[in-house]
């Protein structure tokens, strides 16, 4: 066995023709340059400074809580004696806050998600389809503006809940959730479907005979759920909860909208505001590194349950016919009186975005007037229309690169018989686990250091190219996984038949492989595209490096953030939200109904 180096090389070259080599080198090089190198640079820059500078600063780290978690005040408000109850939460500094918040959000989202998943996976009832759609609605990305609606729900002064309790029901109470607590509530509402979908698909994948057996042995009701159903859905639970944890850590929309600076993500984001000068505070690197390490730790610790590559392809269908039960009258009542209103409430932010987009004013608790002018301003307002065009341009350019990299990498991973392919697989799928803010920080250092003064320097030429690269890297996993799944369904003999008849690798790829996986490719590409369009983390950080002028280079989400605090701005932001919702619905329909593929619901 073994043999000399020459004979090993000869063997390797037998299985690797030039096309395969190119397919191996292209994604590896690009990902090393534009993912690994920037991340290493973050670690390097962070290493230049003492982490204790950050940890000794109470802004970031403090062991004594500040503030009171709940404020209760009896006062006169608009001519009435009321009790104001305001939940705000306490602060331990940004680092601890982010962690505690992530834990609370994960717990909340998990409880909600598991409950909803269990009902849907095990019970049959009229109207289930509608409720299932409602339960996935929070995953329709509407950066900032859905949180804006959530804030509107929980505002003690003009919030809908407060208005309902005090003005409609006539109770002398005004309720509010704000600040740190507001961020937690907003994130739970937004992220719980990630748990729901993962647990649901685990549950419908459970061999029904396992539950039947347990029942025969006498396990019933909650005991059955606790001892059999829940442990068997652990992979889905682990996957969903881990995603929520990471999304919560890196989410910057909720802290921004609640104007809550005491989170890591907000701190990293805020450092970018001064970055147009070409300087980024090293604190950003330290905080980014903390984010990265936390995220990677979470993923590493649940690898036992789910492989990284599975994250990019969520919600797998059931192989079994799941055990469905009819509900008793009492159960039905619970569904319609508890679950249905709850799901409507959880989906309300997305509905609210639509209402916002079509209303003239929404300053008080209720919206007023119907108008199309907000939608119209997408075209009319030059800053907005430019942002839309920018986003389209970036996303389409990124898509071209994503398709090239996705096909190349997945083909090599699926087919090439060479060592080291696992590493490429890890590289291609890892962006699912890497917070976008960390990539933003990495890119800033990377391009301002190594490309200073060149067209790739964002301070000189604006962020266009950086955004295209960031989108490509971050949204690659969706296409790569879809292509990989497609390749697994293409019998290798179909390719061999082509090679056998004299066609080279490239020709086989173009004439045989790509046509056969076209539906997978198209579906993956559409999902990548949608999540490029709604990409937030790098867009609102790097996106501002060119400034906001007439010929700005900022993408949609940057402008959404920018307009949020302008007068009448939220309505325009909402209409951009509606644009993104429409795009997502279109793609979901195409992928699920037309191409009959699975839609991957991930992306922040």
């Amino acid at each position: 066995m073994g043999g000399s180096a020459a004979s090993k090389l000869r063997k390797l070259s037998f299985y690797l023709d030039p096309v395969l080599i190119a397919q191996l080198l292209l994604p590896t090089t690009i990902l090393f340059l534009f993912l690994v190198a920037p991340l290493l640079l973050v670690a390097y820059v962070a290493g230049q400074y003492s982490i204790f500078d950050v940890l000794s600063d109470p802004t970031y780290f403090s062991l004594r809580p500040r503030g009171q978690p709940v404020l209760i005040l009896r006062t006169s408000f608009r001519g009435r004696e009321v009790t104001i109850i305001k939940v705000v939460g306490v602060s331990f500094g940004a680092v601890i806050n982010s962690l505690i918040n992530a834990v609370i959000v994960t717990a909340g989202a998990t409880v909600l998600g598991v409950a909803v998943a269990f009902v849907f996976a095990r019970y049959e009832f009229p109207g289930k389809t509608v409720l299932r759609i409602l339960a996935t609605m929070p995953l329709l990305l509407t950066p900032f503006i859905n949180v804006f609606v959530i804030r509107k729900l929980f505002d003690w002064r003009d919030g809908i809940i407060s208005w309902f309790v005090c003005d409609v029901l006539g109770l002398p109470l005004r309720l509010g959730v704000d600040s740190i607590a507001g961020v937690a509530v907003a994130q739970i509402m937004t992220f719980f479907p990630l748990v729901y979908l993962n647990v649901y698909s685990s549950m419908v994948n459970i061999d029904p005979s396992l539950e039947e057996q347990a029942e025969n042995l006498g396990a019933k009701g909650f005991r059955l759920f606790r001892t059999v159903t829940l442990p068997l859905s652990l992979p889905g639970l682990a996957a969903g909860s881990a995603l929520v944890f990471i999304f919560s850590l890196e989410d910057v929309a909720a802290p921004i909208v609640f104007n809550e600076k005491r989170f890591i993500s907000y701190q990293v984001f805020s450092k970018f505001i001064e970055a147009t000068t070409g300087q980024l505070s090293p604190v950003a690197a330290i905080l980014a590194l903390i984010l990265l390490l936390l995220a990677l730790t979470i993923f590493a610790s649940i690898r036992r349950y789910v492989m990284l590559r599975q994250y990019a392809m969520l919600s797998r269908g059931g192989r079994w016919k799941p055990r469905m039960r009819k509900l008793s009258a009492k159960g039905l009542l619970a569904i319609y009186l508890v679950l249905a209103p709850l799901l409507v409430f959880l989906a309300f932010p997305q509905l609210g975005v639509i209402i916002y987009a079509f209303s003239e004013r929404w300053t008080g608790p209720l919206p007023q007037g119907f108008t199309l002018k907000n939608l119209w301003s997408i075209v009319e307002d030059p800053l907005v229309s430019r942002a839309v065009i920018n986003s389209l341009t970036y996303s389409l350019s990124a898509l071209a690169l994503i398709i090239l990299l996705g096909i190349s990498a997945s083909y090599v991973i699926a087919r090439a018989r060479v060592p080291g392919v696992d590493l490429l697989d890890l590289l291609v799928t890892s962006p699912v686990a890497i917070p976008g803010l960390v990539i933003a920080v990495g890119y800033f250092y990377f391009f301002t250091t190594f490309f200073r003064g060149t067209p790739l320097d964002p301070i000189v030429s604006g962020p266009s190219l950086l955004l295209v690269l960031a989108y490509s890297v971050r949204r690659l996993p969706f296409t790569a996984r879809a292509v990989f799944a497609g390749l697994q369904q293409v019998h290798i003999a179909l390719e061999e038949a082509s090679l056998n008849l004299g066609a080279g690798r490239l020709r086989t790829l173009v004439n045989i492989v790509i046509p056969l996986i076209s539906l997978n490719l198209l579906s993956g590409a559409l999902v990548s595209f949608v999540y490029c369009m709604s990409e937030t983390s790098t867009s609102i950080t790097l996106g501002g490096l060119g400034g906001v002028g007439e010929s700005h280079q900022a993408p949609i989400t940057f402008i959404m953030l920018d307009y949020l605090n302008r007068v009448g701005g939220p309505h325009i932001v909402a209409s951009l939200g509606v644009l993104l919702i429409s795009l997502q619905l279109l793609v979901i329909t195409l992928v699920n109904v037309v191409f009959k593929q699975r839609y991957a619901y991930v992306g922040v």
């Binding site: 000869r10 037998f14 061999e496 090679l499 056998n500 008849l501 066609a503």
Partner: protein, 360 residues
């Protein structure tokens, strides 16, 4: 026409030795069959010849050229895959024309040759169908046409008939043989069906556990199996375990475990072997007395009329024997009968390796 030689080819997959030091010489224009049970390495051998696998040791020659390291698309082989591997997104015409397009032939030439080959395999008129719109037999013929149209140096067929029903299998078997002879293409045919191998091949290589055990014409392999495996794999022979009583050159006297004394011919016995297996083919049993013949007495358990012969299942002191006899013979289940066997039809092999044989 091309000669194919394998020289000491070995291929391992992790700890499985799929192909074990195989050397073969396939002559020009010959229909050569690799025959053996499932998992014996036939497909792997074929894939090495096609260039999909690199052998760990040994080399492959086409005529005098070493092609071991050549890519599949540089070899000029054409393979018919077991599941046909027709491209579902292409019509019959496009499937067949593909190899010619790859070769950059002018459109008119392609049209002409595709028409010809479709005529040859009897598929004219189905050009615009997609593979899913074809029956199994038609798909098989498209696969064959797709391989033949490029006029390959070597045609490789991996169990091309195994997915067809019995009747179609017989017909296609004849057609493949006829086409192969007409075109004179060196052909390597893989099958685990010994009857198919016997009927179609010029020469057969019997394989087991990655090794080639015997190469020869179908008649040679059938009548002079080189070892116990070949003897048992081909035909439904009776296997009688026993001991050697006396050996005199090729002629041996044995005593079976059931207590029959038989005269036989030693084929795979070495001096010193005591444990042996006597192999008798079903058609070598006779109900009418023969001079100098061995006699086995037993009880008929089952009689089946199979057209050209009657199949008897006989229990001879615990030994189970299948015998084919003249259909005119009056035999009934339950009867005690005498079976006569000529000494040259009792083939005696060493029982070494007996444990490794797999019986149906």
């Amino acid at each position: 026409m091309t000669r194919v030689s394998l020289r000491g080819v070995t291929k391992r997959f992790e700890d499985v030795v799929a192909v074990d030091r195989v050397s073969l010489e396939v002559r020009e224009g010959e229909l050569f069959t690799l025959l053996g049970p499932s998992g014996c390495g036939k497909t792997t051998t074929l894939r090495i010849i096609a260039g999909f696998e690199l052998p760990d040791e040994g080399s492959v020659f086409f005529d005098n050229e070493d092609v071991t390291y050549k890519k599949p698309y540089e070899r000029g082989c054409a393979m018919v895959f077991q599941n046909y591997a027709l491209w579902p997104h292409m019509t019959v015409y496009e499937n067949v024309a593909y190899g010619l397009k790859v070769r950059g032939l002018p459109a008119r030439e392609i049209r002409k040759r595709v028409d010809e080959v479709l005529e040859l395999v009897g598929l004219r008129g189905l050009e615009d169908r997609y593979p899913t719109q074809l029956s199994g037999g038609q798909q098989q013929r498209v696969a064959l046409a797709r391989a033949l149209v490029v006029e390959p140096k070597v045609l490789l067929l991996d169990e091309p008939l195994s997915n067809l029903d019995a009747k179609l299998r017989l017909r296609m078997r004849e057609e493949v043989k006829k086409l192969q002879k007409e075109l004179g293409i060196t052909t390597i045919y893989v099958t685990h069906d010994q009857e198919e191998a016997m009927s179609i091949s010029d020469r057969v290589a019997v394989m087991n556990r990655g090794r080639v055990l015997q190469v020869g014409t179908p008649i040679e392999v059938y009548t002079k199996p080189a070892n116990l495996f070949v003897a048992t794999f081909i035909g439904r022979s009776a296997l009688l375990r026993g001991k050697i009583v006396r050996a005199d050159g090729r002629r041996v006297s044995i005593l079976t475990r059931g207590g029959f004394k038989l005269e036989g011919t030693g084929l795979g016995v070495r001096s010193g072997d005591t444990e042996i297996v006597a192999v008798v083919r079903p058609e070598d049993f006779s109900l009418s007395p023969l001079p100098d013949a061995n006699i086995i007495e037993g009880k008929v358990e089952l009689v089946m009329f199979l057209g050209p012969y009657k199949q008897l299942r006989v229990n001879a002191r615990g030994e189970r024997i299948i015998a084919y006899v003249d259909p005119e013979e009056e035999v009934k289940a339950g009867e005690i009968i005498k079976l006569y066997i000529k000494p040259e039809d009792v083939k005696v092999y060493s029982a070494e390796g007996w444990e490794e044989l797999e019986f149906e």
